[in-house]
Amino acid sequence: MPTPPTGGGGGGSAGTSLPSFVMTDAQRAAALVLIQTALSPDGYLTMAKIRAADDVIESTDASQPWGSANYHVAMLGTPSTSAAWMLQISGHHLTYNITYNGAKVSATPMFIGTEPPNFTVLSDGTTVVTGVVNSSTEYFVNGVLTTTAPTGTVAANVAPIEAQRSAVYNVLKLVQADTHVAATAKLTSSFDDVTMGISSTSSGNNDTNYPFNSATETAELYPTGTTGRGVLFTSLNRREQLAVIEAIAAWVGTQKLDISAELFSDYVSPQALAQTYVAYSPGQAGTADFAPYPNLAESPGTAQGSYFRIDGPRLWVEAVVQQAVAYRNENWVHYHTLWRDKTADYGACFSTGADASSC
């Protein structure tokens, strides 16, 4: 039975121009094998955890179809070892766009996020989301609010984008403690989402230039020049630099080794790093707060607005702490992150507007 992919609150893109269908169990199993083959073990595990988190918020707030059932696999073009084609895996808090074009590699735009930031799974499958509301602890047990701590054996603590969160936290802990660097790295604007989200203008995000024709257009929506972009990588001390490189690895490492190795070595080449900026914007409490288990903080909501960015000649990474949506009444938070490549989004070759065969 055909089903319209409904926009889970994102971009208002409720309709679709492409046909879609609900997979059988066998098809779904085959698709997961395909996805597992396309990603690194970390990238696959990240997807599995994000889908689990999407199910957790659907159990709490069923107003949107944001669960793991509303994930889509799309292939654009014909799979080939020499010509261009793209694999897209997409759901509420995840989009992987992997373009294959012979030897050219592209894994962007890549969006990952999560709500809740972390949750617990008990051995009987019960999910528990824990957080603080007005100094007292609240639990959502299988989506139902209670103030009684659930009993049962903890089978897993799940924090879907922990690799990215902790990497950002490590950078910002060092940068914000380094007074001079912090002053340069701090942006004057405030943020409540990633800025370069692949969505229509009507949502406030900007993707109108992508993919752009590099022969006639420039990536004008990205900041240019040397001011208002944060602190240069080369102005950071050794520890800070290492933390930034680890942060880059946290996003790039979701991809298969042949793809991630090529992109990573380009992003962290000395030439690239000499033009790479690191920036942040503080949240409501006055600091950029990417601390672990944010919803267990005394006033969880004050972390919202915390923003982090890596801005290189090709690389663009954003991470932001937002107010919760499914747990809005609790004044908790959730995360959005974005990885883009200013020259290779949707496949480097396509950005030139040229025919695939000439690349």
Binding site: G7, H92, F111, F191, D192, V194, I198
Partner: protein
């Protein structure tokens, strides 16, 4: 290759289940003959982020305080971030009218009303809007701009038209409404009138129930049989005309706000009017004087129509044309329904099947009326409304059934009993 781009565009446009959006602002524009009234709906917590960043060094006032003591700062901020001009670039005046707080699904919005006026002699139908409230500081914020009222462009508050989005890279929007005309406005409101009857099943049910016994003659407190077709047609015309006169009068008075009656009792009385018609169709209560009932209850129905018009926020000239267009739309739709059903009803009335049909129809109307009446007086929600709406959605089939029924009954009727 071209195909690829089309597919890619489609794919990107269709990217499903993107992450949830943070609250956005809304700008609603009412185009009037003298200028543009704007309503800004700004999420309070987003505005606070912007005010904190704004550089004036003051703490941002919280929700209630925004409306009271601290509001000068809010107003000054907004007036500094909202600018209107005409196509020629001549600046319009922007005046703060008032604001209040509105909460929708736990998202608290500051609702601000502004009056934007062109300089004397300037055209009021092209607005060059420069807007970066909140967006200037909170760069991921956006405002969706809609035209809510544009009489000549055929845009009414019940169906605003999205005209653009304002974000950090596009803080400028030209809203050109110069293509409108009196005719477009008239046509739009005429269609609204037709729709109101087509969808306002209670109005139609009242009229049709009242017309159910129109082809019949009453004697001794019972409906005894059909009158001559000519008499039936005259009866129908009298009833329909009386209903029209009644509701036109109160529509005019109500829309001009010369008469003000709360909506709830009117809606309840409309249900009563259907009940009275239904009882009359079962046992004659006022045979031959249906037109008086039609006129009397028409007054009630007209007050209900008037609420539709008065909610449109029309200016004086628009109101005059609006009442005319809306009423003509109502009459047209009413005429369509009467012409589509009455010939078959008159024909069916000459067959032996009619008493059963009349009793079934009247009983249905009575049940519907009681359902509506309890819902409108006691808030007891019952399935009557949804069931009727579902039936009304198949109006063509209902009409076709009536045709088949009347032709079938006529064909089976013994010759000597016919006519």
């Amino acid at each position: 290759m071209r195909f690829f781009w089309i597919c890619l565009a489609a794919l990107l446009g269709a990217t499903p289940a993107l992450s949830h959006q943070m609250p956005k602002s809304t700008v609603l524009l009412d185009f009037r003959s003298t200028g543009v009234d704007a309503e800004l709906q700004i999420p309070v917590d987003r505005l606070q982020v912007a005010l904190r960043q704004d550089g004036s060094g003051l703490d941002a006032p919280d929700g209630p305080a925004m409306l009271q003591a601290g509001h000068t700062r809010v107003v000054n901020y907004l007036l500094a971030h909202v600018h209107a001009s005409g196509r020629d670039g001549a600046a319009w005046s922007t005046q703060f009218l008032g604001m209040d707080e509105r909460s929708i699904e736990n998202v608290s919005d500051l609702v601000v009303r502004l009056a934007m006026r062109p300089p004397p002699g300037g055209a009021a139908n092209v607005l060059d809007l420069r807007y970066d409230a909140v967006i200037r500081e909170l760069v991921t914020h956006a405002a969706l701009v809609s035209v809510r009222t544009d009489w000549k462009g055929g845009v009414r508050p019940d169906s605003p038209e999205l005209v653009g989005a304002i974000g950090v890279h596009t803080t400028h929007l030209l809203v050109d409404r110069s293509g409108g005309s009196m005719w477009r406005g008239f046509r739009s409101i005429f269609l609204l009138g037709m729709n109101h009857i087509a969808e306002g099943t209670d109005h139609l049910l009242f009229l049709l129930t009242l017309l159910l016994p129109a082809p019949l003659i009453a004697a001794g407190g019972r409906w005894i049989g059909p009158g001559r077709p000519v008499r039936s047609v005259v009866q129908v015309i009298r009833i329909v005309t009386a209903f029209t006169v009644g509701h036109s009068l109160t529509l005019l008075l109500g829309a001009l706000e010369l008469v003000r009656v709360p909506e709830a009792p009117i809606e309840a009385l409309i249900a009563v009017s259907i009940l009275v018609s239904a009882i009359h169709a079962l046992r004659p209560l006022f045979p031959g004087r249906e037109f008086l009932i039609a006129a009397g209850f028409g007054l009630i129905h007209g007050l209900s129509f008037a609420t539709v018009i008065s909610e449109l926020g029309l200016d004086r000239w628009g109101m005059a044309v609006g009442i005319l267009g809306f009423n003509l739309g109502i009459e047209t739709m009413q005429l369509v329904v009467v012409l589509a059903t009455m010939p078959w009803l008159v024909l069916l009335a000459t067959t032996r099947a009619y008493p059963a049909f009349r009793i079934t129809g009247a009983s249905f109307a009575a049940v519907a009326a009681l359902g509506w009446l309890t819902e409108r007086t006691t808030d007891w929600v019952n399935p009557v409304g949804p069931v009727i709406d579902a039936l009304a959605a198949h109006a063509t089939w209902l009409a076709a059934t009536l045709v088949v029924l009347s032709l079938g009954a006529k064909a089976l009727q013994p010759r000597d009993r016919a006519g």
